[in-house]
Symmetry: C2
Protein backbone atom coordinates (compact mmCIF):
# COMPACT_ATOMS: atom_id res chain seq x y z
CA UNK A 1 0.00 0.00 0.00
CA UNK A 2 1.19 3.53 -0.75
CA UNK A 3 2.53 5.37 2.30
CA UNK A 4 -0.13 7.61 3.84
CA UNK A 5 1.96 10.75 3.36
CA UNK A 6 2.08 10.21 -0.40
CA UNK A 7 -1.68 10.09 -0.67
CA UNK A 8 -2.50 13.44 0.85
CA UNK A 9 -3.30 16.28 -1.56
CA UNK A 10 -0.54 18.56 -0.29
CA UNK A 11 -1.20 21.12 -2.98
CA UNK A 12 -4.55 21.87 -1.33
CA UNK A 13 -2.97 21.92 2.11
CA UNK A 14 -0.36 24.43 0.99
CA UNK A 15 -3.12 26.63 -0.39
CA UNK A 16 -4.88 26.50 2.99
CA UNK A 17 -1.67 27.27 4.89
CA UNK A 18 -0.90 30.21 2.64
CA UNK A 19 -4.37 31.68 3.01
CA UNK A 20 -4.45 31.15 6.78
CA UNK A 21 -1.11 32.95 7.12
CA UNK A 22 -2.60 35.96 5.38
CA UNK A 23 -5.59 36.36 7.67
CA UNK A 24 -5.24 39.54 9.71
CA UNK A 25 -8.25 39.29 12.07
CA UNK A 26 -9.04 42.99 12.18
CA UNK A 27 -6.77 45.97 12.58
CA UNK A 28 -7.17 47.66 15.99
CA UNK A 29 -3.60 47.87 17.34
CA UNK A 30 -4.55 47.64 21.03
CA UNK A 31 -5.97 44.15 20.55
CA UNK A 32 -2.78 42.79 18.94
CA UNK A 33 -2.25 40.53 21.96
CA UNK A 34 -5.35 38.48 21.28
CA UNK A 35 -4.52 38.39 17.57
CA UNK A 36 -1.09 36.97 18.41
CA UNK A 37 -2.72 34.14 20.38
CA UNK A 38 -5.14 33.44 17.52
CA UNK A 39 -2.34 33.26 14.97
CA UNK A 40 -0.19 31.13 17.28
CA UNK A 41 -2.89 28.48 17.35
CA UNK A 42 -4.09 28.81 13.76
CA UNK A 43 -0.56 28.58 12.35
CA UNK A 44 0.52 25.62 14.51
CA UNK A 45 0.42 23.39 11.45
CA UNK A 46 -1.41 20.10 11.13
CA UNK A 47 -2.85 18.34 8.13
CA UNK A 48 -5.74 20.79 7.69
CA UNK A 49 -8.05 17.84 7.08
CA UNK A 50 -11.26 19.85 7.27
CA UNK A 51 -10.41 22.70 4.87
CA UNK A 52 -8.66 20.29 2.50
CA UNK A 53 -11.83 18.20 2.52
CA UNK A 54 -13.80 21.31 1.62
CA UNK A 55 -11.48 22.19 -1.27
CA UNK A 56 -11.44 18.60 -2.54
CA UNK A 57 -15.23 18.54 -2.39
CA UNK A 58 -15.30 21.63 -4.59
CA UNK A 59 -13.03 19.91 -7.12
CA UNK A 60 -15.19 16.77 -7.04
CA UNK A 61 -18.27 18.75 -8.04
CA UNK A 62 -16.41 20.72 -10.71
CA UNK A 63 -16.02 24.00 -8.85
CA UNK A 64 -12.84 26.06 -8.56
CA UNK A 65 -11.57 25.51 -4.98
CA UNK A 66 -10.56 29.18 -4.79
CA UNK A 67 -14.25 30.09 -4.87
CA UNK A 68 -15.02 28.31 -1.63
CA UNK A 69 -11.89 29.31 0.28
CA UNK A 70 -13.98 31.25 2.84
CA UNK A 71 -15.82 28.01 3.69
CA UNK A 72 -12.53 26.11 4.00
CA UNK A 73 -10.84 28.73 6.18
CA UNK A 74 -13.93 29.14 8.36
CA UNK A 75 -14.06 25.44 9.26
CA UNK A 76 -10.35 25.48 10.12
CA UNK A 77 -10.73 28.56 12.34
CA UNK A 78 -13.62 26.86 14.13
CA UNK A 79 -11.60 23.66 14.52
CA UNK A 80 -8.75 25.69 16.02
CA UNK A 81 -11.12 27.47 18.42
CA UNK A 82 -12.48 24.10 19.58
CA UNK A 83 -8.94 22.81 20.27
CA UNK A 84 -8.08 25.92 22.31
CA UNK A 85 -11.19 25.58 24.47
CA UNK A 86 -10.87 21.77 24.79
CA UNK A 87 -7.30 22.16 26.09
CA UNK A 88 -8.29 24.62 28.88
CA UNK A 89 -7.61 23.69 32.52
CA UNK A 90 -11.36 23.45 33.19
CA UNK A 91 -11.72 20.98 30.29
CA UNK A 92 -9.01 18.46 29.29
CA UNK A 93 -6.21 20.50 30.92
CA UNK A 94 -3.64 19.68 28.24
CA UNK A 95 -0.24 21.39 28.13
CA UNK A 96 0.90 20.32 24.68
CA UNK A 97 -0.71 20.51 21.26
CA UNK A 98 1.14 19.72 18.06
CA UNK A 99 4.41 19.64 20.01
CA UNK A 100 4.05 23.16 21.39
CA UNK A 101 2.56 24.63 24.57
CA UNK A 102 -1.21 24.90 24.30
CA UNK A 103 -2.68 28.38 23.84
CA UNK A 104 -3.48 28.90 27.53
CA UNK A 105 0.03 27.74 28.52
CA UNK A 106 1.56 30.27 26.12
CA UNK A 107 -0.81 33.22 26.64
CA UNK A 108 -2.76 32.59 29.84
CA UNK A 109 -6.19 31.17 30.38
CA UNK A 110 -8.06 34.45 29.94
CA UNK A 111 -6.48 35.20 26.57
CA UNK A 112 -6.99 31.60 25.42
CA UNK A 113 -10.71 31.70 26.17
CA UNK A 114 -11.01 34.98 24.29
CA UNK A 115 -8.84 33.81 21.38
CA UNK A 116 -11.20 30.86 20.95
CA UNK A 117 -14.24 33.12 21.14
CA UNK A 118 -12.69 35.50 18.62
CA UNK A 119 -11.83 32.73 16.15
CA UNK A 120 -15.45 31.66 16.08
CA UNK A 121 -16.51 35.23 15.35
CA UNK A 122 -13.87 35.64 12.64
CA UNK A 123 -14.91 32.36 11.03
CA UNK A 124 -18.42 33.70 10.53
CA UNK A 125 -17.18 37.15 9.56
CA UNK A 126 -15.09 35.50 6.86
CA UNK A 127 -17.81 33.21 5.58
CA UNK A 128 -20.57 35.82 5.66
CA UNK A 129 -18.46 38.67 4.34
CA UNK A 130 -17.39 36.92 1.14
CA UNK A 131 -19.63 36.02 -1.72
CA UNK A 132 -18.98 32.32 -2.35
CA UNK A 133 -22.29 31.76 -4.11
CA UNK A 134 -25.88 33.01 -4.30
CA UNK A 135 -26.81 34.83 -1.06
CA UNK A 136 -29.56 32.31 -0.23
CA UNK A 137 -27.06 29.44 -0.71
CA UNK A 138 -24.39 31.11 1.43
CA UNK A 139 -27.03 31.67 4.12
CA UNK A 140 -27.94 27.98 4.05
CA UNK A 141 -24.28 26.97 4.30
CA UNK A 142 -23.63 29.38 7.17
CA UNK A 143 -26.72 28.21 9.06
CA UNK A 144 -25.51 24.62 8.67
CA UNK A 145 -22.10 25.57 10.06
CA UNK A 146 -23.72 27.26 13.06
CA UNK A 147 -25.91 24.28 13.96
CA UNK A 148 -23.04 21.84 13.33
CA UNK A 149 -20.98 23.69 15.94
CA UNK A 150 -23.71 24.30 18.56
CA UNK A 151 -25.50 22.28 21.23
CA UNK A 152 -26.47 19.42 18.94
CA UNK A 153 -23.05 19.54 17.31
CA UNK A 154 -19.45 20.20 18.22
CA UNK A 155 -20.00 22.04 21.52
CA UNK A 156 -22.60 19.50 22.66
CA UNK A 157 -20.11 16.75 21.84
CA UNK A 158 -17.45 18.38 23.98
CA UNK A 159 -20.03 18.61 26.77
CA UNK A 160 -20.69 14.85 26.50
CA UNK A 161 -16.94 14.28 26.57
CA UNK A 162 -16.04 16.36 29.64
CA UNK A 163 -19.10 15.25 31.64
CA UNK A 164 -19.14 11.66 30.31
CA UNK A 165 -22.83 12.34 29.75
CA UNK A 166 -23.53 10.11 26.75
CA UNK A 167 -25.55 6.89 26.97
CA UNK A 168 -23.66 3.71 27.87
CA UNK A 169 -22.08 1.38 25.35
CA UNK A 170 -21.10 1.83 21.78
CA UNK A 171 -24.20 3.85 20.93
CA UNK A 172 -23.06 6.52 23.39
CA UNK A 173 -19.58 6.49 21.90
CA UNK A 174 -21.01 6.92 18.41
CA UNK A 175 -23.18 9.82 19.55
CA UNK A 176 -20.23 11.50 21.27
CA UNK A 177 -18.08 11.41 18.16
CA UNK A 178 -20.89 12.15 15.75
CA UNK A 179 -21.37 15.42 17.64
CA UNK A 180 -17.84 16.27 18.75
CA UNK A 181 -15.91 15.62 15.54
CA UNK A 182 -18.40 14.22 13.03
CA UNK A 183 -20.59 17.27 12.62
CA UNK A 184 -17.72 19.63 11.75
CA UNK A 185 -16.13 17.11 9.37
CA UNK A 186 -19.56 16.70 7.80
CA UNK A 187 -20.03 20.47 7.58
CA UNK A 188 -16.68 20.79 5.79
CA UNK A 189 -18.23 18.81 2.95
CA UNK A 190 -21.89 19.85 3.24
CA UNK A 191 -21.23 23.59 3.38
CA UNK A 192 -19.46 23.46 0.01
CA UNK A 193 -22.46 21.80 -1.58
CA UNK A 194 -24.91 24.15 0.12
CA UNK A 195 -22.92 27.30 -0.70
CA UNK A 196 -22.77 26.37 -4.37
CA UNK A 197 -26.42 25.37 -4.66
CA UNK A 198 -25.87 21.66 -5.32
CA UNK A 199 -29.04 19.56 -5.79
CA UNK A 200 -30.52 17.88 -2.72
CA UNK A 201 -29.82 14.29 -3.82
CA UNK A 202 -26.15 15.11 -4.33
CA UNK A 203 -26.05 16.68 -0.85
CA UNK A 204 -27.54 13.54 0.68
CA UNK A 205 -25.00 11.27 -1.04
CA UNK A 206 -22.06 13.40 0.09
CA UNK A 207 -23.48 13.58 3.63
CA UNK A 208 -23.48 9.79 3.84
CA UNK A 209 -19.84 9.70 2.75
CA UNK A 210 -18.81 12.47 5.15
CA UNK A 211 -20.55 10.80 8.10
CA UNK A 212 -18.66 7.56 7.52
CA UNK A 213 -15.43 9.48 7.02
CA UNK A 214 -16.01 11.06 10.44
CA UNK A 215 -16.37 7.62 12.02
CA UNK A 216 -13.19 6.43 10.29
CA UNK A 217 -11.32 9.52 11.46
CA UNK A 218 -12.26 8.97 15.09
CA UNK A 219 -11.62 5.21 15.22
CA UNK A 220 -8.14 5.79 13.77
CA UNK A 221 -7.60 8.65 16.25
CA UNK A 222 -8.38 6.36 19.15
CA UNK A 223 -6.01 3.69 17.79
CA UNK A 224 -3.17 6.17 17.29
CA UNK A 225 -3.55 7.45 20.85
CA UNK A 226 -2.36 4.06 22.16
CA UNK A 227 0.01 2.94 19.36
CA UNK A 228 2.02 6.08 18.57
CA UNK A 229 4.76 7.80 20.54
CA UNK A 230 4.28 11.23 22.10
CA UNK A 231 6.69 12.62 19.53
CA UNK A 232 4.62 11.30 16.64
CA UNK A 233 1.39 12.61 18.19
CA UNK A 234 2.74 16.01 19.25
CA UNK A 235 1.03 15.46 22.61
CA UNK A 236 1.34 12.89 25.43
CA UNK A 237 0.65 9.30 24.41
CA UNK A 238 -2.22 7.42 26.07
CA UNK A 239 -3.98 10.63 27.08
CA UNK A 240 -7.44 9.14 26.43
CA UNK A 241 -6.83 6.39 28.97
CA UNK A 242 -5.32 8.78 31.48
CA UNK A 243 -8.40 11.00 31.19
CA UNK A 244 -10.55 7.90 31.73
CA UNK A 245 -12.19 8.38 28.34
CA UNK A 246 -14.20 5.73 26.60
CA UNK A 247 -12.76 5.12 23.14
CA UNK A 248 -13.16 2.59 20.36
CA UNK A 249 -10.05 0.89 21.77
CA UNK A 250 -11.37 0.75 25.35
CA UNK A 251 -14.70 -0.64 24.10
CA UNK A 252 -13.49 -3.09 21.43
CA UNK A 253 -9.79 -3.68 22.17
CA UNK A 254 -7.04 -2.73 19.75
CA UNK A 255 -7.76 -5.54 17.28
CA UNK A 256 -11.47 -4.86 17.41
CA UNK A 257 -10.85 -1.15 16.75
CA UNK A 258 -8.62 -2.05 13.79
CA UNK A 259 -11.42 -4.18 12.35
CA UNK A 260 -13.81 -1.28 12.77
CA UNK A 261 -11.38 1.06 11.03
CA UNK A 262 -11.04 -1.38 8.11
CA UNK A 263 -14.81 -1.63 7.75
CA UNK A 264 -15.32 2.13 7.99
CA UNK A 265 -12.62 2.69 5.39
CA UNK A 266 -14.23 0.28 2.92
CA UNK A 267 -17.68 1.72 3.60
CA UNK A 268 -16.50 5.31 3.17
CA UNK A 269 -14.90 4.43 -0.17
CA UNK A 270 -18.15 2.78 -1.35
CA UNK A 271 -20.22 5.79 -0.33
CA UNK A 272 -17.73 8.10 -2.01
CA UNK A 273 -17.86 6.13 -5.24
CA UNK A 274 -21.64 6.50 -5.21
CA UNK A 275 -21.53 10.22 -4.39
CA UNK A 276 -18.57 11.43 -6.41
CA UNK A 277 -17.47 9.63 -9.57
CA UNK A 278 -14.81 12.36 -9.97
CA UNK A 279 -13.77 12.34 -6.33
CA UNK A 280 -10.14 11.30 -6.75
CA UNK A 281 -8.78 13.71 -4.15
CA UNK A 282 -11.54 12.80 -1.70
CA UNK A 283 -10.54 9.14 -2.17
CA UNK A 284 -6.93 9.99 -1.41
CA UNK A 285 -7.93 11.92 1.72
CA UNK A 286 -10.03 8.94 2.82
CA UNK A 287 -7.10 6.56 2.31
CA UNK A 288 -4.80 8.96 4.11
CA UNK A 289 -7.14 9.16 7.11
CA UNK A 290 -7.29 5.36 7.26
CA UNK A 291 -3.51 4.84 7.09
CA UNK A 292 -2.04 7.95 8.75
CA UNK A 293 0.43 7.58 11.59
CA UNK A 294 -0.27 10.83 13.49
CA UNK B 1 -38.85 64.01 35.22
CA UNK B 2 -40.78 60.78 34.69
CA UNK B 3 -39.39 57.81 36.65
CA UNK B 4 -37.09 55.68 34.51
CA UNK B 5 -39.19 52.54 34.96
CA UNK B 6 -42.22 54.29 33.39
CA UNK B 7 -40.30 55.14 30.26
CA UNK B 8 -39.24 51.68 29.24
CA UNK B 9 -41.25 50.00 26.47
CA UNK B 10 -42.18 46.98 28.58
CA UNK B 11 -44.44 45.62 25.88
CA UNK B 12 -41.36 44.95 23.75
CA UNK B 13 -39.46 43.50 26.68
CA UNK B 14 -42.27 41.07 27.41
CA UNK B 15 -42.25 39.98 23.79
CA UNK B 16 -38.51 39.31 24.06
CA UNK B 17 -38.91 37.40 27.34
CA UNK B 18 -41.69 35.28 25.88
CA UNK B 19 -39.70 34.40 22.78
CA UNK B 20 -36.52 33.66 24.74
CA UNK B 21 -38.45 31.30 27.00
CA UNK B 22 -39.58 29.34 23.96
CA UNK B 23 -36.11 28.74 22.54
CA UNK B 24 -35.23 25.03 22.77
CA UNK B 25 -31.58 25.05 21.58
CA UNK B 26 -31.72 21.73 19.77
CA UNK B 27 -33.19 18.42 20.80
CA UNK B 28 -30.52 15.81 21.59
CA UNK B 29 -31.46 14.53 25.08
CA UNK B 30 -27.92 13.70 26.18
CA UNK B 31 -26.90 17.34 25.96
CA UNK B 32 -29.74 18.55 28.20
CA UNK B 33 -27.21 19.57 30.84
CA UNK B 34 -25.65 22.26 28.69
CA UNK B 35 -29.08 23.41 27.57
CA UNK B 36 -30.07 23.84 31.21
CA UNK B 37 -27.07 26.11 31.81
CA UNK B 38 -27.88 28.13 28.69
CA UNK B 39 -31.49 28.63 29.76
CA UNK B 40 -30.45 29.46 33.33
CA UNK B 41 -28.41 32.39 32.06
CA UNK B 42 -30.68 33.47 29.22
CA UNK B 43 -33.77 33.51 31.46
CA UNK B 44 -32.10 35.36 34.36
CA UNK B 45 -34.10 38.46 33.50
CA UNK B 46 -32.74 41.94 32.97
CA UNK B 47 -34.04 44.83 30.91
CA UNK B 48 -33.20 43.21 27.56
CA UNK B 49 -31.87 46.56 26.35
CA UNK B 50 -30.26 45.20 23.17
CA UNK B 51 -33.19 43.19 21.77
CA UNK B 52 -35.66 45.90 22.82
CA UNK B 53 -33.49 48.40 20.95
CA UNK B 54 -33.67 46.14 17.89
CA UNK B 55 -37.47 45.88 18.06
CA UNK B 56 -37.87 49.62 18.66
CA UNK B 57 -35.61 50.30 15.68
CA UNK B 58 -37.89 48.16 13.53
CA UNK B 59 -40.91 50.19 14.70
CA UNK B 60 -39.06 53.44 14.02
CA UNK B 61 -38.51 52.49 10.39
CA UNK B 62 -42.05 51.21 9.95
CA UNK B 63 -41.37 47.49 10.09
CA UNK B 64 -43.29 44.92 12.12
CA UNK B 65 -41.01 44.03 15.08
CA UNK B 66 -42.08 40.38 14.78
CA UNK B 67 -40.24 40.23 11.48
CA UNK B 68 -36.87 40.95 13.02
CA UNK B 69 -37.26 38.84 16.16
CA UNK B 70 -34.35 36.57 15.08
CA UNK B 71 -32.07 39.63 15.09
CA UNK B 72 -33.32 40.70 18.51
CA UNK B 73 -32.98 37.26 20.07
CA UNK B 74 -29.55 36.70 18.52
CA UNK B 75 -28.10 39.86 20.08
CA UNK B 76 -29.49 38.89 23.48
CA UNK B 77 -28.04 35.36 23.24
CA UNK B 78 -24.67 36.87 22.35
CA UNK B 79 -24.91 39.34 25.22
CA UNK B 80 -25.68 36.46 27.60
CA UNK B 81 -22.74 34.44 26.27
CA UNK B 82 -20.43 37.41 26.85
CA UNK B 83 -21.62 37.76 30.46
CA UNK B 84 -21.03 34.05 31.14
CA UNK B 85 -17.47 34.21 29.80
CA UNK B 86 -16.72 37.58 31.46
CA UNK B 87 -17.75 36.15 34.85
CA UNK B 88 -15.39 33.14 34.60
CA UNK B 89 -12.65 32.68 37.24
CA UNK B 90 -9.96 33.35 34.61
CA UNK B 91 -11.67 36.65 33.72
CA UNK B 92 -13.54 38.82 36.24
CA UNK B 93 -14.15 35.90 38.63
CA UNK B 94 -17.62 37.08 39.67
CA UNK B 95 -19.92 34.95 41.81
CA UNK B 96 -23.15 36.88 41.41
CA UNK B 97 -25.04 38.10 38.37
CA UNK B 98 -28.55 39.56 38.55
CA UNK B 99 -28.78 38.43 42.19
CA UNK B 100 -28.09 34.76 41.40
CA UNK B 101 -24.96 32.60 41.25
CA UNK B 102 -23.10 33.11 37.99
CA UNK B 103 -23.26 30.30 35.44
CA UNK B 104 -19.93 28.75 36.44
CA UNK B 105 -20.90 28.87 40.12
CA UNK B 106 -24.14 27.06 39.35
CA UNK B 107 -22.93 24.58 36.72
CA UNK B 108 -19.13 24.43 36.92
CA UNK B 109 -16.50 26.18 34.87
CA UNK B 110 -16.41 23.61 32.05
CA UNK B 111 -20.15 23.75 31.45
CA UNK B 112 -20.15 27.56 31.68
CA UNK B 113 -17.46 27.89 29.00
CA UNK B 114 -19.41 25.52 26.76
CA UNK B 115 -22.77 27.16 27.49
CA UNK B 116 -21.26 30.47 26.34
CA UNK B 117 -19.80 28.85 23.24
CA UNK B 118 -23.12 27.19 22.47
CA UNK B 119 -25.12 30.41 22.90
CA UNK B 120 -22.90 32.11 20.34
CA UNK B 121 -23.51 29.26 17.89
CA UNK B 122 -27.26 29.27 18.53
CA UNK B 123 -27.39 33.02 17.97
CA UNK B 124 -26.05 32.57 14.45
CA UNK B 125 -28.17 29.48 13.86
CA UNK B 126 -31.23 31.52 14.77
CA UNK B 127 -30.34 34.54 12.69
CA UNK B 128 -29.18 32.59 9.64
CA UNK B 129 -31.94 30.00 9.79
CA UNK B 130 -34.82 32.47 9.66
CA UNK B 131 -35.72 34.64 6.74
CA UNK B 132 -35.95 38.16 8.17
CA UNK B 133 -35.42 39.84 4.80
CA UNK B 134 -33.78 39.38 1.41
CA UNK B 135 -30.95 36.81 1.65
CA UNK B 136 -28.30 39.37 0.65
CA UNK B 137 -29.56 41.71 3.38
CA UNK B 138 -29.64 38.99 6.03
CA UNK B 139 -26.08 38.08 5.03
CA UNK B 140 -24.97 41.68 5.47
CA UNK B 141 -26.64 41.89 8.89
CA UNK B 142 -25.12 38.60 10.02
CA UNK B 143 -21.66 39.61 8.83
CA UNK B 144 -22.00 42.83 10.81
CA UNK B 145 -22.96 40.90 13.93
CA UNK B 146 -19.92 38.65 13.51
CA UNK B 147 -17.45 41.52 13.18
CA UNK B 148 -19.13 43.47 15.99
CA UNK B 149 -18.51 40.53 18.33
CA UNK B 150 -14.97 39.59 17.21
CA UNK B 151 -11.43 40.90 17.72
CA UNK B 152 -12.23 44.47 16.76
CA UNK B 153 -15.51 44.28 18.68
CA UNK B 154 -16.90 42.75 21.83
CA UNK B 155 -14.27 40.05 22.39
CA UNK B 156 -11.43 42.49 21.70
CA UNK B 157 -12.99 44.87 24.21
CA UNK B 158 -13.06 42.17 26.85
CA UNK B 159 -9.40 41.50 26.06
CA UNK B 160 -8.57 45.18 26.65
CA UNK B 161 -10.53 45.02 29.89
CA UNK B 162 -8.92 41.92 31.44
CA UNK B 163 -5.40 42.84 30.31
CA UNK B 164 -5.79 46.60 30.81
CA UNK B 165 -4.28 46.82 27.33
CA UNK B 166 -5.90 49.97 26.02
CA UNK B 167 -4.01 53.26 25.55
CA UNK B 168 -3.78 55.57 28.56
CA UNK B 169 -6.26 58.27 29.39
CA UNK B 170 -9.79 58.88 28.27
CA UNK B 171 -9.08 57.81 24.68
CA UNK B 172 -8.23 54.34 25.92
CA UNK B 173 -11.37 54.26 28.02
CA UNK B 174 -13.47 55.25 25.02
CA UNK B 175 -11.86 52.57 22.88
CA UNK B 176 -12.43 49.94 25.55
CA UNK B 177 -16.12 50.67 25.78
CA UNK B 178 -16.63 51.26 22.08
CA UNK B 179 -15.44 47.70 21.55
CA UNK B 180 -16.66 45.93 24.68
CA UNK B 181 -20.22 47.25 24.89
CA UNK B 182 -20.61 49.80 22.10
CA UNK B 183 -20.25 47.49 19.13
CA UNK B 184 -22.99 45.08 20.24
CA UNK B 185 -25.35 47.92 21.19
CA UNK B 186 -24.62 49.40 17.79
CA UNK B 187 -25.21 46.07 16.07
CA UNK B 188 -28.60 45.79 17.78
CA UNK B 189 -29.66 48.83 15.79
CA UNK B 190 -27.55 48.41 12.63
CA UNK B 191 -28.49 44.78 12.01
CA UNK B 192 -32.18 45.69 11.85
CA UNK B 193 -31.49 48.30 9.17
CA UNK B 194 -29.16 45.98 7.26
CA UNK B 195 -31.49 42.97 7.43
CA UNK B 196 -34.37 45.02 6.07
CA UNK B 197 -32.38 46.69 3.30
CA UNK B 198 -32.56 50.25 4.62
CA UNK B 199 -30.78 52.90 2.52
CA UNK B 200 -27.16 53.73 3.37
CA UNK B 201 -27.81 57.29 4.57
CA UNK B 202 -30.43 56.04 7.03
CA UNK B 203 -27.97 53.43 8.30
CA UNK B 204 -25.32 56.10 8.88
CA UNK B 205 -27.72 58.31 10.82
CA UNK B 206 -28.84 55.44 13.07
CA UNK B 207 -25.24 54.37 13.59
CA UNK B 208 -24.37 57.81 14.94
CA UNK B 209 -27.28 57.62 17.37
CA UNK B 210 -26.42 54.07 18.46
CA UNK B 211 -22.75 54.96 19.05
CA UNK B 212 -23.71 57.84 21.36
CA UNK B 213 -26.28 55.62 23.10
CA UNK B 214 -23.47 53.15 23.77
CA UNK B 215 -21.37 55.88 25.39
CA UNK B 216 -24.33 56.99 27.50
CA UNK B 217 -24.99 53.41 28.57
CA UNK B 218 -21.43 52.89 29.75
CA UNK B 219 -21.01 56.21 31.58
CA UNK B 220 -24.24 55.54 33.49
CA UNK B 221 -23.07 51.97 34.19
CA UNK B 222 -19.86 53.30 35.74
CA UNK B 223 -21.81 55.79 37.87
CA UNK B 224 -24.26 53.13 39.10
CA UNK B 225 -21.40 50.85 40.11
CA UNK B 226 -20.41 53.35 42.82
CA UNK B 227 -23.78 54.88 43.73
CA UNK B 228 -26.10 51.88 43.96
CA UNK B 229 -26.35 49.13 46.57
CA UNK B 230 -25.46 45.54 45.81
CA UNK B 231 -29.14 44.66 46.05
CA UNK B 232 -30.08 47.21 43.41
CA UNK B 233 -27.25 46.05 41.13
CA UNK B 234 -27.78 42.31 41.61
CA UNK B 235 -24.00 42.02 42.04
CA UNK B 236 -21.43 43.40 44.51
CA UNK B 237 -21.22 47.20 44.63
CA UNK B 238 -17.94 48.89 43.73
CA UNK B 239 -16.69 45.90 41.76
CA UNK B 240 -15.00 48.12 39.14
CA UNK B 241 -12.80 49.74 41.79
CA UNK B 242 -12.04 46.39 43.44
CA UNK B 243 -10.96 44.98 40.08
CA UNK B 244 -8.77 48.08 39.63
CA UNK B 245 -10.68 49.04 36.49
CA UNK B 246 -10.47 52.43 34.88
CA UNK B 247 -13.96 53.89 34.56
CA UNK B 248 -15.52 57.22 33.70
CA UNK B 249 -15.83 57.77 37.47
CA UNK B 250 -12.17 56.96 38.18
CA UNK B 251 -11.07 59.25 35.35
CA UNK B 252 -13.46 62.17 35.83
CA UNK B 253 -14.82 61.81 39.37
CA UNK B 254 -18.49 61.25 40.10
CA UNK B 255 -19.58 64.80 39.23
CA UNK B 256 -17.52 64.77 36.05
CA UNK B 257 -19.05 61.46 35.02
CA UNK B 258 -22.53 62.85 35.67
CA UNK B 259 -21.76 65.82 33.43
CA UNK B 260 -20.60 63.42 30.73
CA UNK B 261 -23.79 61.40 31.07
CA UNK B 262 -25.89 64.53 30.72
CA UNK B 263 -24.02 65.57 27.60
CA UNK B 264 -24.21 62.10 26.06
CA UNK B 265 -27.93 61.96 26.80
CA UNK B 266 -28.59 65.28 25.09
CA UNK B 267 -26.38 64.36 22.15
CA UNK B 268 -28.02 60.95 21.71
CA UNK B 269 -31.46 62.59 21.66
CA UNK B 270 -30.29 65.07 19.01
CA UNK B 271 -28.85 62.33 16.84
CA UNK B 272 -32.02 60.30 17.28
CA UNK B 273 -34.20 63.21 16.23
CA UNK B 274 -32.11 63.52 13.07
CA UNK B 275 -32.19 59.78 12.33
CA UNK B 276 -35.70 58.81 13.34
CA UNK B 277 -38.54 61.31 13.29
CA UNK B 278 -40.84 58.42 14.34
CA UNK B 279 -38.51 57.06 16.98
CA UNK B 280 -40.69 57.55 20.04
CA UNK B 281 -39.79 54.22 21.62
CA UNK B 282 -36.11 54.74 20.89
CA UNK B 283 -36.38 58.10 22.67
CA UNK B 284 -37.95 56.44 25.68
CA UNK B 285 -35.21 53.80 25.77
CA UNK B 286 -32.60 56.56 25.58
CA UNK B 287 -34.22 58.41 28.49
CA UNK B 288 -34.49 55.18 30.44
CA UNK B 289 -30.80 54.42 29.96
CA UNK B 290 -29.90 57.93 31.15
CA UNK B 291 -32.06 57.79 34.28
CA UNK B 292 -32.09 54.11 35.26
CA UNK B 293 -31.13 53.02 38.76
CA UNK B 294 -29.80 49.53 38.02
Amino acid sequence: MTAAADLYPDELRLLVDRELAELRFGEERSTDGIREAMRYSVLAGGKRVRPVLALATARAIGIDPARILPVALAVELIHTYSLIHDDLPAMDDDDLRRGRPTCHKAFGEDVAILAGDALYAEAFALLLGHQTGEPADVLAASARLATATGVDGMVGGQYLDVKDAMPNGVEGLRLLHALKTGRLIGASVECVLLATGAPAEQLVAYQAFAAELGVLFQVVDDILDVTQTAEELGKPQGSDERHGKRTYVSEFGLDGARDLARDAHAHARELLAAAAPAGDELARITDYIATRSS
